[in-house]
Every structure is written in C-alpha cells, then in structure tokens.
C-alpha cells in the first residue's frame, strides 16, 4: 500500500500554492468538498467577470475568467415531474464540462453535491468562490418550459429577499432571437422585471416599441437599428418622466451610410437641449460593448428631465462605420 500524503497537514501557504496549481475543474470540485476547501479556493482571489446562463433544452453556465480562460458547465434536463408548475430547474447533479474553445476535452460527469440543493445554490457557490457578482440570462429555444419568474428566482440570488446576503448580484438579461420575441406576455412581464441590464442582440424585435415596456437601468441595443423618429418620441417621454424613470444608460447603433444628414436634428426636434463639449467619465453597470473605444465624438447635448431636473447627456460617437447613440443619465 502506498504511503499516505498528509496534504491537509501542510502549512497554509503551501496549500494555497497547490490549490493555485489545480485546474479550473479541480478547483470547482475541491471547493465543493467542504466549506473549508471552498474558502481555500475563494482566497486565491480568482475573478470571473460574468456568468452567462444560456437556458435552452439544457442549461449551460459559462464562466469567463480574467485571463480569458473559459469553461462551460452544461446541465442536461432531468425527468420532469408530472403536474408541476412552474417546472423546476434541473438540479446540478449531472453536468459536463467544456473548456477553452477548440479543445475536445468535453466529458460528462455525474455528481451528487450533498450540500447543493439547487442550481441557484450552485451558482451562488460559484459566485462566492470566483468573486462574481454578474449573472446574465440568455433564453434560447427550449426555455419555454420555464417561466421567466421561475428562471430568475431559480438562478439569481435576490438581494431584497435575503437581507443577510451581502453579495449584490447583477441581473442581466441577454436576448438573442428567442421564442419570446413576439410574445406579448413576455414584454409585459419580463421587461418589467427588476433588471439591471438588458443586452438586446435580437434583430427582429422592434427595439423602439419595447423601449416603452421596460424599466431597466442599462439598455444596450446591440443589433444595428433602422433609424426612426420614434427615438425622438422616446426622449420626449423620458423628459416628461413618463417612461423609463430608472434608466441610467441607453445605447443604440446605426449604420452611418443609412443615416440622413440631419439625423441629429430629427432626434432632438422639439427637445430643449444644450451643446456640451466637456467629456465626462461614465462607467456602465456592465460592459457589453467597448464604451471607451471610439473613432470620434460627433456631438454631445445635455437635456434635463422635467420631473426631477435630472441631467442626461445625449452623445453621438462614431465607431467602426457605425454611429452610436448614447443616452447617459447622471446621478
């Protein structure tokens, strides 16, 4: 019989280095062994910018690390219980890992995490050990079986429900072409959900129309839009305090060649504004586009909301043959 290695008798500094040398998967596994081992991984101070939870017929959780290393954990669906609504999210009992893009290291592994009763707990555990406060939810085809409320409650640890939780989890909804696009219920219920950021990649959704249906702090409409005077109407409504009262930033992109020469006048028509030249630093809640990268600033205008005199800056900048419209509401 091989002699025993008394790993846990080693000094803390040694254990820390051994843990640092673990692969990402092993770090996660080791952290699941006990609270103490979780703390050892947490102390390594590895940071993940965002968890991307892609919800389809199976749930995929991707973690992107600061050093661009990424892994995905895929949770296949479990046998659905009969007559249960909403359908519960799968337990993190079986998943497979994929590591960096292009590697064929995908394996299926089954585990019974005795101290992980739900996917939410599991993600909460990951957010603790990897110091991640951002969770982006990406609904895909197959997510129809869950309700949105179920998804959010099942994935995001809610600050307002748990006063003992010190972690502030950022709630980001990332929408590509998803089955809820044309669903009225989706717009009414989901976009009114208390979200921190919306990343809208979907090209078929009418961005102008859904703008009025939501009250989200950061709205990034990432698919290039057709220019419309509806944007002017939206700004006027915002000035009147009739829509998006909690908005902190809005970004839209237009193809420069498709814009008319007087697009700025169209957007600002009938709006009291003031030309400004001084650049102010703005830090978005989450960076879904390279805010700081731009070719040139086209123009900047200050506007004010009538209800509370809140100042906002409309900024047009040029980046890679696109004109970006940014509405930044200052605190």
């Amino acid at each position: 019989m091989e002699p025993l290695f008394l790993l846990l008798k080693l000094p803390d500094v040694v254990l820390r280095l051994v843990a640092a040398y673990f692969g990402t998967k092993e770090k996660i596994y080791f952290s699941l062994c006990s609270k103490n081992s979780a703390k050892r991984i947490q102390r390594l101070n590895i940071r993940v910018g965002e968890f991307l939870c892609a919800i389809g017929s199976e749930i995929s959780v991707s973690l992107k690390f600061d050093d661009l290393h990424a892994i995905s954990m895929i949770f296949p669906p479990v046998d659905q219980p009969v007559n249960q609504y909403p359908i519960p999210l799968p337990l993190p009992v079986a998943f497979r890992f994929t590591t960096a893009v292009g590697q064929s290291g995908e394996t299926k592994e089954t585990h019974s995490f005795q101290n992980m009763p739900s996917l939410k707990e599991f993600l909460g555990h990951l957010s603790t050990i990897f110091h991640c406060k951002n969770v982006a939810i990406l609904p895909l085809h197959g997510s129809e079986q869950y309700t949105y409320a179920g998804l959010f409650k099942g994935i995001v640890r809610n600050m307002w429900c748990d006063t003992t939780c010190h972690d502030y989890i950022l709630r980001i909804l990332s929408l590509d072409n998803n089955p809820f696009e044309c669903n009225w219920q989706f717009r009414k219920s989901v976009l009114k959900y208390k979200l921190d950021a919306l990343q809208l990649w979907a090209k078929t959704l009418d961005a102008y129309e859904i703008l009025f249906d939501m009250d989200i702090k950061q709205i990034d409409i990432l698919a290039v839009q057709q220019f419309s005077p509806k944007l002017n109407f939206f700004i006027r409504k915002w000035i009147e305090g009739e829509t998006n009262v909690n908005l902190e930033s809005l970004v839209m992109q237009f193809q420069e060649r498709e814009l008319s020469a007087n697009y700025q006048e169209t957007i600002l028509s009938g709006i009291e504004h003031q030309v400004v030249s001084e650049k102010e630093e703005f830090e978005p809640i989450c960076k879904s586009i390279p805010w700081e990268l731009l070719d040139s600033v086209v123009a900047m205008y200050d506007i004010r909301r009538k209800t509370d005199e809140r100042r906002a800056t409309i900024k047009f900048d040029r980046f890679s043959r696109a004109i970006r419209f940014k509405l930044i509401v200052w605190k």
Partner: protein, 190 residues
C-alpha cells in the same frame, strides 16, 4: 532546462556546515545556499560570507539527514540555474517537468511530504513550487467525490439534502490536518 556545470574546487572559506536534526553534519558550498532564502538570510545576518568570521555549524532542527541529502542533491543540480522567478502560478495542461526532476521526485508520498516541508522551511522556491505543481497534477482528472475521498474531506452539512440521512460533520481537526490522503495516480474516468 539544463545548465552546464563548470568544475570548481571547494575551499573552506566558501563553505558552511549545517547540522540535521539527527546530528549529521553537511558541508555546504555558499553558492548552493543562495537558492535557500532561509540560509541566505542567515549567512547574510551572521556575515558568514566573510573569510574572517568564525562560522559555527548551523543547526537545522526540522530537517533530517535523509531530507538534507535530498535537498543538497537538488541544490547541486540547480547550482548554475538562473534565480527562480515565480512567473506562472496557474495550472497549465502543457506544463512538463524535466526528466531529471521527474526522476528526482519519483519518491513515495511520505518522502515527498517531508521534502516539501523541508523545502518550505528552507524556503527554496524552485523546489517548493515544483513539488506543489506535481501534487496538484495528481489531483487532475478526479471528480469531487474522488477528491473528497482521496483527501478524506467530510461534508459540512448536517443532513444529506437528497436522502435526509445525517452526515458526519466536517471536523476542524480533519481540515486542520488530521486527515490522511493517498495521492495515487488518477483512477479511470467514470
């Protein structure tokens, strides 16, 4: 990486004597001690690098003669290596050890454990880091359950959430080092 070792004749002026815990004396070239931060600091503090200073034997109460022999072997091999710099403290699948290191560390787990403690005590970062990396590589491919079994870590929860069966709590003594593990090669994947 390997370095050509020029032949040098040791002189009494550039040696110090270290004494292991079992009383065995080892004559150590000062050049070798540069790899150990503990010894280097000690030599600097007592000015043992000066020829006019009387050099008393240095007792190393935590290190046995067998460990010292092994460490001297390491120091001799890396005598002309550049100063160690900790560049990458992350796991790498492409990381490989040179053949000499693999043979050098092809030792039973208990000896590896003692050698690591000795390397930590003498603060020889290259040796210390190499053993840590080899230890970590022996965990690779193991699942959570296997790691838990291998490291003899008991869960923290009082009841298994699936079965409701009471589970023995993870005692602090276990985590503080009372558990014993066997780092045998990885079992085949499930």
């Amino acid at each position: 990486m390997s370095c050509e070792e020029p032949t040098t004749s040791p002189t009494p002026e550039n040696n110090i004597t270290v004494v292991s815990s079992d009383g065995k004396e080892f004559l150590l070239d000062l050049k070798l001690t540069e790899q150990s931060e503990t010894l280097a600091r000690l030599i600097s503090n007592f000015e043992y690098d000066r020829t006019d200073v009387k050099k008393d034997p240095v007792p190393l109460g935590n290190i046995t003669s067998a460990q010292m022999q092994k460490i001297i072997e390491w120091l001799q091999h890396h005598r002309y290596y550049p100063k160690w710099e900790q560049n990458d403290i992350h796991y790498s699948t492409s990381f490989t050890f040179e053949t000499w290191v693999e043979e050098y560390l092809n030792i039973p787990n208990n000896e590896m454990f003692e050698l690591l403690n000795a390397a930590n005590y003498l603060n020889i970062p290259r040796l210390f880091s190499t053993i840590c990396r080899i230890m970590a590589s022996r965990i690779t491919g193991k699942s959570a359950e296997q790691i838990r079994t291998v490291l003899n870590i008991k869960t923290d929860v009082k009841n298994d959430v699936y079965t409701g069966i009471p589970i023995q709590e993870d005692s602090s003594s276990s985590e503080d080092g009372m558990s014993e593990i066997s780092l045998s090669p990885s079992p085949p994947p499930i």
